[in-house]
């Protein structure tokens, strides 16, 4: 069977510096797949390449067998890929729930005409979207902010809101860039549960994360990057015993 996300010989240079170099791996549908590595290893750059924010210098990305290397982020979203950001991208000029409703953008079919005259079809759509968004906020654990402005939310809640927005797009694969950064132990534990719940729904999860305990606990497979190159790839057990990884993490 073909992998859901497949990366072959991916290369990205900024000026003369290779942020990502010759990276290849494959993610099967339904997996929780994590990318780890020290700061500056190229993890976020890799995510940016996969989600279409950067165009790679060399190599290709395939989603469901289709070559998506040159596609824009919105075209990838149409194909079922959605993500969150290390530096959160929340629309602070909107309310919390509107941010989540934005996630349903691709599900709306209302025409400009329907919109301008606010015809019943639009109102029906909006009611469904509102309800679904409120449910999702509950699901990720920031339900108490349904009536709030995004700017009034706490850091941890915003991180959850971003996940809710990504889920609202009903993705096949969701990429989470350091979801646990800045969270305390309790919040991290809740996040772990949330990621499990998402994976149990059959959504493939790709994760960039520093929190080793979290990563080792929930990942099916891991990719270890170091200076933009693949250091190791395998199950958590394999990674734990990989001499290169041990050298890089403990010996370094």
């Amino acid at each position: 069977m073909t992998a859901l996300v497949e990366v072959k010989g991916l290369d990205k240079a900024f000026g003369g510096v290779h942020a990502v170099e010759g990276v290849s791996f494959a993610v099967e549908a339904g997996q929780v797949y994590s990318v780890i590595g020290p700061n500056g290893a190229g993890k976020t750059t890799l995510f940016n390449l996969i989600t279409g924010l950067y165009v790679p210098t060399k190599g290709e990305v395939r989603l469901n067998g289709e070559n998506t290397t040159k596609l824009e982020p919105n075209q990838l979203a149409e194909r079922g890929m959605c993500r969150t950001f290390q530096q959160m991208q929340i629309c602070m000029n909107m309310t919390a729930i509107e941010n989540v409703m934005l996630g349903r953008h691709l599900q709306f079919k209302s025409s400009l005409f329907t919109t301008l005259f606010r015809l019943p079809a639009l109102l029906r759509d909006e009611k469904t979207a509102y309800k679904r968004a409120a449910d999702l906020m509950e699901y990720v654990g920031c339900g108490e902010y349904v009536g709030a402005e995004a700017s009034a939310m706490s850091y941890g809640a915003l991180k959850r809101l971003e996940i809710a927005r990504a889920l609202a797009a009903e993705p096949k694969v969701i990429l989470l860039d350091e979801p646990a950064a800045g969270l305390n132990a309790t919040e991290t534990a809740a996040l772990e549960d949330l990621i499990r719940k998402i994976a149990d729904q059959g959504i493939t999860v790709m994760l960039v994360e520093h929190d080793m305990k979290l990563v080792m606990g929930i990942s099916d497979r891991l990719l270890v990057l170091n200076y933009g190159r693949v250091l190791a790839e395998g199950t958590p057990e394999e990674i734990r015993q990989n001499p290169d990884v041990i050298a890089a993490y403990l010996g370094g």
Binding site: F14, T44, N48, L53, F85, Q86, Q87, Q89
Partner: protein, 291 residues
Amino acid sequence: MLAEFLQYLFTGITIGATYALIALGFTLIYNASHVINFAQGEFLMIGGMATVSLTAMGVPMVLAIVLAIILAGILGIALQRFAIAPAKQADVVTLIIITIGASIFIRGIAQVVWGKEYHVMQNFSSDEPIRVFGAVLNSQSLWVLGVGAVVVVALVLFFTKTLTGKAILATSMNKEAARLVGVRTQMVLMLAFLVSALLGSVAGIVVAPITFTSYDIGIILGLKGFVAAAIGGLGSGVGAVVGGLALGIVEAMAAGYISSDYKDAVAFSMILLVLFFMPRGLFGPKVVERV
């Protein structure tokens, strides 16, 4: 043929040098504060009008010029202190509107003090034009080019050789870092406005004998400076000079060979074309957006 071409070229380079000076003023302020100062043209107006009115009152030309430049400098500092500094949290568009408000205010005062008439300024030296291959070169054009060149060299020296100049550069690159190493950034911002105002007034004075001057001359000159700075790439000194000269020459050629009614349209089409292929102008910095 050649004479005609040379004639347009001379005109273009002269006015282009003026645009370059205005564009440099924009660039300075933009680099220091990321503000596009729509009141930049008013510095030119102040320079020209103050010189004209002072000489009319019997002040010797040289002294009048010095006083006019000082006046513009004070205005530049006042603009930063009283209009830009208090609004530092404001949105980009809001800052644009503030500088527009300032320019209307300055223009209003000029109108009250100097009236609405056009004023003529004497050439600095002989009125006798110079002939080159059949083209006529106004002696004042040489003044514009000479002063322009001196100013550019002075600016380069200022930014590369003096501590103050380096402080301005450092602030434009990274405000926080500059503050950490002891640069007084508020002071630097004020300096940027001051130097920018001085530049503007000098440009306004040298070009006044060619274009005449009036209370509302700043609007269009300021705009042209903005166009020149954008063509060159906002924030680039080289870009400002190249953009200014290019704009001046294209305008003069368009006026000569196409139609003087449409010379501005050609200039504005040029900026659209440049931005179409180079969204950050000719020499604008390439920025990778980080997420």
